[in-house]
């Protein structure tokens, strides 16, 4: 039977989720194998080198740069306190004595006799790494982090804004085709992750932030709305570091699009449960999609790792696919056939195509490039 390789989003009711949690640079790991951690627990910690400040000692003391070492009171790598003298001149009369105090707490990074300048570095910044999801520590990467594992419902979105969050999941609409409106977001939603239906506008986004909502999950929204919310345009889909209080996850795409029925049902089943979400998206080589993880109290042996179920075998006739380009954008259908010959489409391009039967029984032909599989549905 014909099949093809195609990208897809993962939607799994039960799967084994494993997350490598690593520090940006080596530090101290605070957990050990076998520990159970909560999403907000700190599992590793490190210090990142801080800002550097430049001081032109030669100018300040009116000396030649090459003589700088003769006037320095501190050596390279030596710690200093704010106000502590760093260098002093050697006048004949002590009235003319001039000391250069350190403007910061820190260390002397370097002393240069060519430029006559020194660099001072502020004390390091502390970086804490959280567990991100409720689960068990199954592996330690010495000095760098750990792998956390749990059985979970796992759903990928198509695009997100904002970083990692966790909170109680709550449905605020009754059906996947219902838009989420501003007045549906209430003060009691503070700290929660809300699931909407087909659409939300800029007012709802702002209201969610004001109410302290941790996350919003929605089928679609207008691209203009994101620009209005953030104050700038997203040019390339590399996100996750935006300065927002509410993480946004879009499951289908831009425009008003009903959330896929199965995705919506999985959220309905998770109403009231604690979830971990991340809006981080990277659509380049090494694709990263936003995700929603709903930990389950299940035995991990009864589920399969999501990575083991990747679509390496490709899709085949009979599989359910989502159409991801006009004129059928957002529709779901079942593959009827995968003809091998190239076919002329409306644009006059000759491309590989597939026949898809839509829910209403209509059979359409479309380029193979314009569908995605929904992993977890077909297998």
């Amino acid at each position: 039977m014909a099949h093809l390789y195609t990208p897809g989003l993962q939607v799994f009711e039960k799967t084994l989720v494993q997350k490598h949690r690593t520090l940006p640079i080596p530090g101290e790991v605070l957990v050990k194998t076998g520990d159970f951690v909560k999403a907000e627990d700190i599992i590793a910690r490190t210090e990142i080198p801080n800002e550097v400040i430049e001081l032109n000692i030669a100018n300040l003391l009116s000396i030649e740069p090459e003589d700088i070492h003769d006037y320095m009171l501190k050596k390279e790598k030596e710690p200093v306190k704010e106000g502590e003298p760093l260098a002093v001149n050697k006048p004949l009369l002590k009235w003319f004595k001039k000391e250069i105090p350190s403007p910061i707490d820190g260390t002397v990074e370097s002393i240069n006799k060519v430029t006559g300048k020194i660099l001072l570095r502020k004390p390091p910044r502390h970086v804490d790494l959280s567990g991100y999801l409720d689960g068990k520590v199954v592996e330690i990467e010495p000095n760098l982090g750990a792998m956390i594992e749990c059985s979970a419902t796992y759903i990928q979105g198509i695009f997100g804004i904002g970083g990692e969050q966790s909170g109680i999941l709550e449905m605020v609409v009754a059906s996947p085709g219902q838009p989420l409106e501003e007045n549906m977001i209430k003060p009691e939603h503070a700290g929660k992750v809300l699931v909407g239906g087909s659409y939300l506008d800029e007012k709802s986004l702002k209201r969610a932030e004001e109410m302290g909502v941790k996350g919003l999950i929605i089928g679609g929204l207008d691209a203009n709305c994101i620009k209005a919310w953030l104050g700038y345009e997203i040019g390339v889909a590399i996100t996750g570091d935006e300065d927002v209080k509410t993480t946004l996850i879009v499951t289908e795409g831009f425009g008003e699009i009903a959330m896929a029925g199965r995705t919506f049902e999985l959220f309905q089943a998770a109403q009231g449960k604690r979830v971990s979400i991340s809006g981080r998206t990277q659509i380049r080589a090494g694709v990263m999609r936003p995700e929603i993880i709903i930990p389950l109290a299940e035995d991990k042996d009864s589920v399969v790792k999501s990575s083991d179920k990747s679509n390496e075998a490709g899709v085949k006739e009979g599989d359910i696919v989502r159409i991801i380009r006009e004129p059928y954008f957002g529709m779901l259908g079942r593959i009827k056939s995968l003809p091998s010959e190239l076919l002329l489409i409306e644009t006059e391009a000759k491309v590989r195509v597939m026949e898809v039967t839509l829910d209403d029984g209509k059979i359409i032909t479309l380029p193979r490039a314009n569908i995605e599989i929904i992993e977890g549905i077909n297998r």
Binding site: E51, E54, V114, R284, N370
Partner: protein, 599 residues
Amino acid sequence: MNKELNVIIATDCGSTTTKAILIEKMPNGEYRQTYRGEAPTTVESPYNDVTCGVLNAIAEIEELSGRKILDNEKIITPANGKNGVDIYISTSSAGGGLQMLVAGAVKSMTAESAQRAALGGGAIVMDILASNDGRLPHQKIERIRGFRPDMILLSGGTDGGTITHVVELAEYIAAANPRPRLGHTFRLPVIYAGNKSAREEVRKVLENIVDLVITDNLRPTLEVENLQPARQKIQDLFMEHVMAQAPGYGKLKTWVEVPIMPTPAAVGYLIEKVAKNLNINVIGVDIGGATTDVFSVFGEVFNRTVSANMGMSYSVSNVLAEAGVENVLRWVPFELTEKDVNNRIKNKMIRPTTIPQTMKELVLEQAICREALRLSFIQHKLLAVGLKGVQQSRSIADSFLQVESGQTLINMKDLDLLIGSGGVLSHAPRRVQSMLLMIDAFQPEGITRLAVDSIFMMPHLGVLAAVNETAATEVFEKDCLINLGTCVAIRGEGKYGQKCLDYRLDIAGKSSIEGSMTYGELVMHPLTLEEKAKITLSPAKGFDVGEGPGKSKETDIQGGVVGVVIDTRGRPLCLATDPAERIKQLNQWNQVMGMYPSF
């Protein structure tokens, strides 16, 4: 390389696809590209080995050609009948290509020269640091640390000039202690190509922190730019240090007989060769999914720029952001709301591998393409300039002309050949679409030939040119380049309906075609590459076809798969401001050119 090459296999490992081509010497002694195969690039998990994609692409050629090239995972050499190949060569831009930071003492002088050297070496320049770039030291240090480049090029000072500023920059690099993007264990390569007198001081500051390589000063005097040694070092280090850290490249390195070249460096090398061999001025453009590269050779001076976030898929939304919705919509001959355009483009950004299925979607993508090309070309003109800071001796006449140093080298009237490459141009359903997209974006003036790369094989031929120039040139002319035809365009501004050009086209063996055109028109006459033709142009007062305003011109002209396009829309090209009028205008032009079937 002197050995005889009868069968050549070449690959280009791109970010998403690895493309292989087979080149064979025909019984008449000509080199021709015969088969092509492609497969997804495999530098990412779960494969983590670039050679898997290479083997898959070559296996496709084996199937199509019936030639046995692989013996398990080895390329059979030399060729013997229907077995094996004589040489395997490759280029690569996988894993994001070569990403560099450059630094120089003065932003518009040594830092700009360093930027040109890095771009010419095939890199994407992530940032340009200079002593006078307006940033505070800690901001510069944060920037260096934050980027994780593949390599840094440090320049600064003419020989015997400033030492202090160069050492200062070296100190910032040392304080940042930058980590390379690939490979956690190796030290970041830093090339020093600045003031000779500062070498020792730079060495003291950097040698224990980075992998320091010292080469000739790229700006030994203000009047001289010597980029070749730095460019060469960049390419050497690219393979030895950077790509060697990428998955599978250690193995791939042992398969090739000449070093793997960064893809843009190979394309640039080929364009330089073409311009030199034919003694013409050339502009080449390669528009990809994420980036657009522009190459130019004017008066034997080569320049390359890369617009890092100007592309047709991954960065399509950035094109919209940079150009503005109104500039994209001006090329669309039907009504579309701003909200609709935004949603469609963002949907392409999040699902970059989709293709237009309806004619309206194709028109919108081609509108975006025009803007991506236009903006990338503006960027190119800003960097392809004469050296700044050079003292000029002026005659009295010069002082009236107000010629400044650092002017752009790109003069569209002197452009002989414009070559387009990349999916949206190479695979446009109609060739005339590629031709008009390039005319609208680059706005050539006078008489200019246009061509497209048939199946994106310029990178392969670029690396082949380094091994066997004859083979590369023959395949380039016969299989790679599709001559579209010639564009004849007037320079000048006028009013719609104002008469601006009379012309006569004499095609050997056919009767003459005469025409009279008003401002704002497009005309197309079929003319094949084989036909010999002469064109006589008589512009009205105030309009220029290359000889000066109002001056006539008579010249031989070359055809192609499209023919001759005569463009009296003026330069700069302006469209009607009234939306209904603009749509009427676009529809007229599209109809004359045969751009689209009716929709």
